[in-house]
């Protein structure tokens, strides 16, 4: 027999086994069905991007369907003046608002989440570990509007009643706090996984050299888990930057917040900014998109903001992939 040739079944005397026609046919159909489903999903995502881009970019090109003037890139992306009724379309306040509120939220949520992850994975007794994991998984699934209600009815009145008797408390501080509470469970879950996946030999090795529990965690475990912790933080950031509902309920929705800041003569401008009603890309979209006529510059700019959000999220997802790959290298 030639090398590499399978002996035919018949040669061994066994009956020749063959798939029935039906089997082969249904395999073909299944293949097509799977292909169709995946094409549909890819098509939907592509379609959304195309739709957003075509409407968003229409702000800057004179295309059919536009009902107003064509805007320049600089008057949209470099101006802090948002007053659509007087023909000003600067979206810097929203970009700054989105970055500010998510940055602040991450500043609160990342350390809290990572340390909780250490606690669950390395310090908590077994019963508490199981309980905490389940609680975190539940918290991830709570709809954001619930967090918003909590912020609106509990946190805001508490903050204005306690520290700021004269001013409304809505603004970055409370919005960031609510966002932080929202993304902490995600960061906790992922960082718990990160610490649990580290070999115990690292922990033992550090402590065998005379590290205290805390020194082993700080000097060995956290650095060893760093790529996965970064991934956790970026995923949290991705969830925070796209969040509209909870933020809209507590941030105050004031597109002119930057102008307000400029005029203020406060001696602690940063603190003042924390409690100034502001707006973000998402909150502004939710507020205004339903009320603007299609094809108007106002409407087009809102789509451009949506496109910007889409691209920002995309960059974050790609960054997560990159970080995830870094851990294997």
């Amino acid at each position: 027999m030639e090398a590499g040739q399978e002996p035919p079944f018949a040669a061994t005397g066994a009956p020749v086994l063959q798939h029935s026609r039906f089997h082969r046919l249904s395999d073909r159909w299944a293949h097509l069905a799977f292909l169709a489903c995946s094409l549909l999903v890819v098509g939907l995502i592509g379609g959304i991007l195309f739709f957003l881009a075509s409407r968003g970019l229409a702000a800057f090109w004179p295309v059919a369907g536009n009902t107003g003037r064509t805007l320049s890139l600089s008057e949209v992306f470099l101006s802090t003046d948002w007053a659509p009724s007087s023909d000003h379309f600067g979206i810097v306040p929203f970009i700054a608002g989105s970055l500010g509120v998510t940055g602040l939220a991450l500043l609160i949520a990342a350390p809290a989440g990572i340390l909780t992850g250490v606690f669950i994975a390395k310090l908590a007794p077994t019963w508490m570990r199981n309980l905490m994991r389940q609680v975190m998984d539940l918290l991830v699934g709570i709809p954001s509007v619930v967090y918003g209600i909590f912020g609106l009815t509990v946190v805001l009145p508490f903050v204005s009643g306690t520290w700021l008797a004269e001013a409304p408390a809505s603004g970055f501080a409370v919005a960031a706090l609510i966002l932080a509470v929202m993304i902490v469970p995600t960061i906790v879950s992922l960082s718990t996984d990160a610490f649990e996946s580290l070999p115990t030999s690292l922990d033992e090795g550090a402590q065998a050299l005379g590290s205290s529990r805390w020194q082993a965690i700080w000097h060995v475990l956290i650095p060893a888990a760093r790529p996965r912790l970064l991934t956790a933080a970026v995923l949290g950031l991705g969830r925070a930057i796209g969040e509209a509902m909870a933020v809209q309920m507590v941030i105050g929705n004031n597109p002119q917040w930057m102008a307000l800041m400029r005029e203020s003569t406060d001696r602690a401008p940063f603190l003042r900014a924390l409690f100034t009603p502001a707006a973000t890309l998402t909150t502004e979209l939710v507020q205004e998109l339903p009320n603007t006529p299609a094809g108007s510059p106002w409407n087009n700019v809102l789509f451009a903001m949506g496109l910007l959000l889409y691209l920002l999220t995309m960059v974050l997802i790609l960054a997560t992939r990159r970080l995830g790959r870094g851990k294997e290298a």
């Binding site: 030999s201 590290s211 020194q215």
Partner: protein, 260 residues
């Protein structure tokens, strides 16, 4: 009588009297007594599950990291009880270093791995650290191989190099005792030979206790050998006697491969 009878010039470093060890209600070690001499290599052999690794980990209390354990009887280092003598466990672990079954370098540079211990104990001065790192790497016979790539990651080294790095890391805090828990079980024969040579060099000024499942290794590197079976010490004697004229039949059966 389970202690060797040859004249011994080195002092007793570690001393165990009627020691028992349990996880919860499960008794793992019972009725153990032995003396371990300074500047000697003591090997602990026995079939898997006989408690030899558990016993080793009692000397630096490292099992306390992951579980609640109960040790009764006496375990002394220089005459002071490890568990009840008021020794701080961090200080104990500085004095009693450990090398594990699988090399466990930290995901840091070669230099930072060795400098880790000294830094913990407050050495921050760069030139002292450099000196300690070089000295430890030389003692671990690794300096010539890594001196030009101290800044590279330790996880990129071969298994044998990683294990010698772990030995260097343990030596950098200047321990009095070195515990080795099957240090060659993950290594190839050449790397194993290097570690064995190293053990012989290191006993000049260290007390070494090595757990091994490899009887040839015990015969090659150790001065004393203790044979464990089911959590008990069956026999302990000079290595050459254990391997030529053991007093207990069970020891002979194990060494000649009749069980285990």
């Amino acid at each position: 009588m389970l202690t060797p009878t040859l004249p011994e010039t080195k002092p007793i470093k570690l001393s165990v009297r009627n020691m028992a060890f349990s996880y919860g209600t499960k008794k793992v070690l019972d009725g153990l007594s032995m003396d371990i001499h300074a500047e000697r290599v003591t090997a602990i052999i026995g079939p898997s599950g006989c408690g030899k690794s558990t016993f080793l980990k009692c000397f630096n209390r490292i099992h306390e990291v992951s579980s609640t354990v109960n040790v009764s009887g006496d375990m002394l280092i220089d005459g002071v009880d490890i568990y009840r003598g008021g020794i701080d466990e961090v200080d104990l672990r500085r004095r009693v270093g450990m090398v594990f079954q699988k090399p466990n370098p930290f995901p840091k540079s070669i230099y930072e791995n060795v400098a880790f211990g000294p830094r913990l104990f407050g050495v921050t001065d760069r030139s002292s650290l450099d000196g300690i790192v070089e000295d430890a790497l030389r003692k671990a016979a690794l300096w010539d191989e890594v001196k030009d790539r101290l800044k590279e990651s330790a996880t990129g080294m071969s298994g044998g190099q990683q294990q010698r790095l772990c030995i260097a890391r343990a030596l950098a805090v200047n321990p009095e005792v070195l515990l080795m828990d099957e240090p060659c079980s993950a290594l190839d024969p050449i790397a194993t030979a290097k570690i064995e040579d190293l053990i012989t060099d290191l006993k000049e000024n260290l007390t070494i206790v090595i757990v091994t499942h490899n009887m040839q290794q015990a015969a090659r590197v150790s001065d004393y050998t203790a044979f464990f079976w089911l959590g008990r010490l069956v026999e302990m004697d000079l290595t050459e006697r254990i391997f030529t004229t053991p007093r207990v039949q069970m020891t002979e059966d194990y060494i000649t491969g009749r069980f285990g």
